[in-house]
Point group: C2
Chain length 144, copies 2
DNA sequence: GCAAGATCATTGCAGTTGCAACGATTATGC
DNA sequence: GCATAATCGTTGCAACTGCAATGATCTTGC
């Protein structure tokens, strides 16, 4: 028998994730002109409060350099403030500006609505997906 | 309440898919030095037989240009043969060479083993995931 | 039969990514 | 206390991506 790519789980997972991300990315691109890394940094800051680049890099599955450049762009747009950490001067303190917070309020609502639609689309198996994603997330820290 | 990125489905899906893809990509990178697009083209050709770039582009969720360049590299490596279609000379006929077939035999076994491991990791919810991915795949053809 | 439009693969190009330096700062071993 | 190693954020660089031409070929309307 020949190999069937369209029955291969990693491939199907990747395609599905890309499609969902693409659909949602179109929303915040239209709303605020954000790229995916910018959205992730902003969204993480909304919940985490003041935090370093290293922190975001570790939690949000983006390379240090990507976080660094996204943060710079967000700073340029007035959505994020960068300051120095006095206790450890290697670190940078990132936090949302009032404009950043206001934007995340709007984007958060859009995200919730999108997720609700998605869950409706997924139907009764959504709970199983939730469990699966938690299990996968726990597996690989990528720290190797 | 602030927005919680790590409870947001599109984000979690994207991270999980990236991690799974990364793990598997390391395997075929080690085995044959393939990139993700090259793997996809090769794997699709294994099951589809002779087919055009346009066909792969439509089925495998890769841009035309990405498929074109991946096919050229695979041709250079002697894994794929490119020939002209006599009925429609705009089209290119891609097919695996014997070396390509031999490689896919090995990679197919590696892929099956990887998927088996993954399914074991996922446990009893794997069936639900299968249904979900089919549903998502059916939704968006991206033809808009 | 032929002109206008559609389709196909390729290529150019700007933007992004991932990785490996790099300078600056802090932690560790002795 | 001080040299060595580790960590942090940034930047350079090559590779890749996605999009928009481009040239070649086919299809459609008439």
């Amino acid at each position: 028998m020949t190999f069937r790519l369209d029955a291969f789980l990693p491939y199907r997972l990747s395609v599905a994730a890309a499609q969902v991300s693409r659909r949602f990315a179109a929303l915040y691109e239209a709303e605020a002109g954000l790229t995916i890394p910018e959205w992730r940094v902003l969204a993480h800051l909304d919940h985490s409060g003041a935090v370093s680049i290293r922190d975001i890099h570790a939690r949000v599955n983006l390379d240090k350099s990507v976080v660094s450049r996204a943060a710079s762009r967000l700073q340029g747009a007035g959505l994020v403030r960068k300051s120095g950490n006095d206790a450890d001067r290697r670190l940078i303190v990132l936090e949302l500006t009032p404009q950043g917070q206001a934007l995340m309020l709007r984007l958060g609502r859009i995200a919730e609505a999108f997720q609700a639609d998605l869950l409706a689309e997924l139907g009764p198996d959504a709970a199983a997906l939730d469990r699966l994603l938690s299990r996968l997330a726990g597996k690989e820290t990528g720290a190797a």
